[in-house]
Every structure is written in structure tokens, then in C-alpha cells.
Amino acid sequence: MKQEFKIISDFIKKNTRVLDVGCGDGTLMEFLQKNKEIDIRGIEISKVNSQKCVSKGLTVIEGDAEKDLYQFPNSSFDFVILSQTLQAFLNPEIVIQELLRVGKKAIVTVPNFGFWKVRLHLLIKGTMPITKNLPDEWYNTPNIHMCTIKDFYKFCHDRDIKLDKALALHNEKISFINEANLNIKNLSAELGIFLIEK
């Protein structure tokens, strides 16, 4: 999803320190490195992917974001990115806390389980939704904590986490999410992109 990368890139300022949590094969890291003068690090749980990243010369450590973020000091990064990974954690709440400890700001993107196609799939077919962003079956999905844009919005609100920016993405089109249009965006967007801080 190129558009997602572009939005993330726009959030990030020049000459900053950035951590990509769950950086996969390093595609986003490379994209950001090319487009911004930043010092970027990554952490990735999969052996195959972390070896791919290191092979590219990227500064990535193989590790589990739920266990290994403790080694980064408070506010040691200007931005911490969590791209479409939150739903795969055992304890997303603690991960968000950690992101906001390690980073001055965090960029979190969430596949929206409230998207109308997802709802329709469950309503009509009566089986767990499978979409472009969520391609796995219920029995083998790594995504164990799915949420909606509205869920995440509320999650931040309840914890006094500041939503600096909240964007909805659908068919590569970007729009702003606010209190007033939350229900509509929760139905029409595939992805929510949030810039948050404590």
C-alpha cells in the first residue's frame, strides 16, 4: 500500500530518529530512507524478514516487540511506526504504551474491521471476513486482536492519548477522521492512520 507509506513519510520530519516496529522485509524503511534524511531502525520478529533487512544493510534487530522494546530508552526516537501490526500482538495495550514511551510520537496504522465489506462478509456469508488487507483464514491468521477505526479512536480517547492526526484511507483516497464523521469513516475506510502522542 504505497499511499500508506506516503502518508507515513509526510508525518515524519527531516533529521529525526525513527523506529519501525514490525518492519517486515524493510520495504517501508527503504522507502523512508530514500525520501527523508532520517536515522531509521527496525525491529522484526521473523527470521526470514530480519535477515532480508540486514542483507539490505538496514539497521534491524531480530526481536519481539512485545518483549524487546524495553531496551530502548525513554523518548529515544522522534517517531515510532507501527504499520498494520497492532492486531497481531497478544497485548496491544502494552505495546501502545511502549511505543509512546520509546517514541515522542507514534504512527499507528490499523486495518479497519468496521469496513463495510468486512461487515457484509460476516453478515451475508456468516464466516470470518477475508479481504485484501486481511487475507488469512480464522485458523491461521496472525491477527488476533482486530479492531475498527472507531475502536482505536475510542481507545486513544479513553487513555488521554493525543490524536495529532487521524486519517482514513480508501481506494488510495485520503480523508480526515473527526468526532463528527467517525461512524461514516468507520464504515467506508479500509485503513486508519493515526499520529499519536502521550
Binding site: 531502525r41 534487530i61 530502548f72
Partner: protein, 372 residues
């Protein structure tokens, strides 16, 4: 042992104050180089060898006539490509392939040093090798790397000379030798010392050699370099050139025969006193303690980019100990990457044909060089 054939020797005239308090000078440091230094002098890689290694990293070792100890990784077209990079490796002081060690003759007594040789440390080894940079007219190395004790030297080197290497790759090592590793080293030393031919270390003066003790030391150590699964897969309970058990203490099993062979070839190429000295240096290695319990402080002054590598089946220098280095570096925002490579070849994985390891190493080195 020290036949002095094809051995490049640098005589270091600058006095070197050792950690034990003694000062040595005019001592030899044997080294070898591969490839050539480019005009910009930005392609030099200093490789540090492990306990029983030497300066002959690649090609054919002129002493043993066997492949150099890191031939899988270093050579033309290999992970550390000698067509591109200028690779340097020195025999550590305390060693027995040309560098100043216990098998040298003390000019004052005309006797072989033996155990009168000063106890050396990883710090001493690294400080001695640093002289090579000036001699080879290299302002800054592109990389320092090494596995096991070689990795410890990498850590010590960056800590001592924070601006002398662009990247550092410590592999399968630790920042502080564990009790278990000290225990294994002590087992090896006691085995050597229990040999009647050791003669308090003066065997060479009397034309003797503690072959049996050194061989057992090597056998015991060799087990620690492999993994249980690796051993089981390679040897299992296979018998050695026989159909049935012989009800004796012969080498019935292939693993016995293999270990005996490893021990017997080792004594031909290694000096027993060097084994004592080098294992001691490893045991004394505690970079964390050197910085009052805070390993991060060892790297505070460096901008060197690190890649730490461990192996899943390495129980001698396990992933957890390698990760401590990563954690210490992350705590100060240093540039550190880390991967744990899947391999059932144990601690020796870094010396063997482990494609995932070699490919990752190759690509990381080449990409880091491009970003020069």
C-alpha cells in the same frame, strides 16, 4: 611448530604495557593479508581469529597445508570478497604461529618462555594488533569482524579505538566470559597440566610435548563447539569400521574415533602453553566489568555500525549473551543490527558452510560498503 615458512612478521618496537603490569617491546606480530588495499584506502577489513585460529584466514595454510580457518567466508567471490576488500589477520600474541608467545625463546635466559611468559588479555591482543594499521598505513578500517574469541576482540577493538572502524561484526561471542565457559577452559588447562610431559610448562626445553593432555583438551573443547542435534545427526550411534561392539575401550563409536582424530591432528599444529595462555585471556575477558558494570559505556564514544550475529544451536555463546551486546548498544542509541541464524551446527556454525549466515554477511558487508 614455528617453522617460519611464509610468515609475515612485523616487529613492534613501540613498548606495549600489558594488563598484567609487564611491558613488552621489540616483539613479533605475525600476520597475513589477502586482496589489495585500494587507492582510497577504505576497503580494509581486520579479521580477528578465535582460540585455535591463526593469521591464515583463507587459501591454503602453509603450515597445515589445509584450507584456511575461514575459507567458507573469506576469499575471491566469497562473503568477504578478497577481490573487493583488503583482508588482514594477525596471529594473536600468546599464540604459536609466529607472534610473540610462550614458545618463543627468552633472549635473557636462552630458554623457551613456557609459563614464564606474561599472562595476556584480549585487551593486550587487540592493542598489539592495532600497530598493524600504522604499519599498513590505514587511517580507518572499513570493518572489524570475528567469531568467538575473534568477536570479543571486535568488541574490545571498538571500545579501545572508537573511530578506527566503520562497521563491526562480532559473531557468536560475549562481552563477559561465563562461568560455564571458564569451567570448560579450566578443564582443558587441567588436562594439559596433568600430562607428565608438560613439566610445568618447560617441555619444549627438554624436547617433550604434552600431546595426550593437549589432545584431551581439544576433544573436550570440540564437543562444546557442536550441538547435540548436530552430533546425533552426523554420528548417532554409528560404529567405527566394525559390525558390532568389541567389548573393549577401543573407539567403537564413530564419535569416539572422530574426537580422537581431532585431538591427534591438533597437537601437530598447536602449542600446549599457547592453549593455556589464550584460554586464560578469554576467561579474563569482561568488558562489562571494565566499564563498572555498564557495557554501554564501552561504546559511548563510537559511531561504528554494528551487526551482531548468533546461532540457534550455539550453547557456548548463546543468543542471550550476544543479545546483551545488542541491548547495551541500543541503550545508547548506537547503530546496531542483530540476527540469530538457524543452524544445528552449534558454536562452530560461523566457521562452516551455513548459507543463511554467509549470504546475510555478504550482503550486509557489500551494502554497508556502498553506503560509504
Amino acid at each position: 611448530m614455528n617453522k617460519n615458512i611464509n610468515i609475515k612478521n612485523l616487529i613492534i618496537d613501540k613498548p606495549l604495557k600489558l594488563d598484567c603490569g609487564q611491558t613488552i617491546n621489540n616483539f613479533p606480530l605475525a600476520y597475513e593479508t589477502y586482496g589489495s588495499l585500494n587507492e582510497k584506502k577504505d576497503n580494509a577489513i581486520l579479521v580477528f581469529h578465535a582460540l585455535t585460529g591463526d593469521q591464515f584466514v583463507s587459501g591454503i595454510n602453509p603450515i597445515t597445508k589445509k584450507d584456511g580457518w575461514w575459507s567458507y567466508a573469506v576469499g575471491p567471490g566469497k562473503a568477504i570478497d578478497t577481490n573487493k576488500y583488503f583482508v588482514i589477520c594477525a596471529n594473536v600474541i600468546g599464540g604459536c604461529l609466529g607472534s610473540f608467545g610462550p614458545s618463543n625463546t627468552n633472549s635473557e635466559t636462552n630458554k623457551i618462555y613456557g609459563t614464564t611468559f606474561p599472562v595476556i588479555t584480549i585487551n593486550d591482543m587487540v592493542n598489539a594488533q592495532h600497530n598493524l594499521l600504522e604499519f599498513l598505513k590505514i587511517e580507518k578500517l572499513f570493518a572489524v569482524m570475528g567469531g568467538s574469541m575473534g568477536g570479543m576482540q571486535v568488541l574490545q577493538f571498538v571500545s579501545n579505538f572508537p573511530s578506527k572502524a566503520k562497521i563491526a561484526i562480532p559473531i557468536a561471542c560475549t562481552s563477559s566470559h561465563s562461568a560455564q565457559n571458564i569451567a570448560f577452559n579450566e578443564l582443558g588447562r587441567q588436562s594439559i597440566m596433568a600430562d607428565a610431559n608438560w613439566l610445568d610448562g618447560s617441555y619444549a626445553n627438554q624436547n617433550k610435548n604434552p600431546d595426550k593432555g593437549l589432545s584431551v583438551a581439544r576433544m573436550a573443547a570440540h564437543i562444546t563447539y557442536l550441538s547435540k542435534n548436530g552430533l546425533q545427526e552426523k554420528f548417532g550411534r554409528k560404529l567405527q569400521e566394525r559390525d558390532d561392539l568389541k567389548f573393549s575401550f577401543d573407539a567403537d563409536f564413530q564419535i569416539e574415533s572422530y574426537l580422537r582424530y581431532q585431538g591427534s591432528v591438533f597437537v601437530d599444529r598447536f602449542d600446549a602453553n599457547s592453549y593455556l595462555y589464550i584460554t586464560r585471556a578469554m576467561d579474563y575477558f569482561d568488558l562489562t566489568k571494565e566499564y563498572n558494570g555498564n557495557l554501554s559505556k564501552a561504546f559511548e564514544k563510537t559511531k561504528t555500525k554494528f551487526l551482531v550475529i548468533s546461532f540457534t544451536s550455539d550453547w557456548l555463546y548463546p543468543t542471550s549473551e550476544n543479545k546483551e551486546i545488542v541491548i547495551a548498544l541500543n541503550a545508547i542509541g548506537a547503530d546496531v543490527a542483530f540476527v540469530e541464524i538457524e543452524s544445528d551446527k552449534g558454536h562452530d556454525s560461523f566457521l562452516l558452510d551455513v548459507p543463511k549466515f554467509l549470504n546475510t554477511l555478504k550482503d550486509y558487508i557489500n551494502n554497508s560498503y556502498l553506503k560509504n
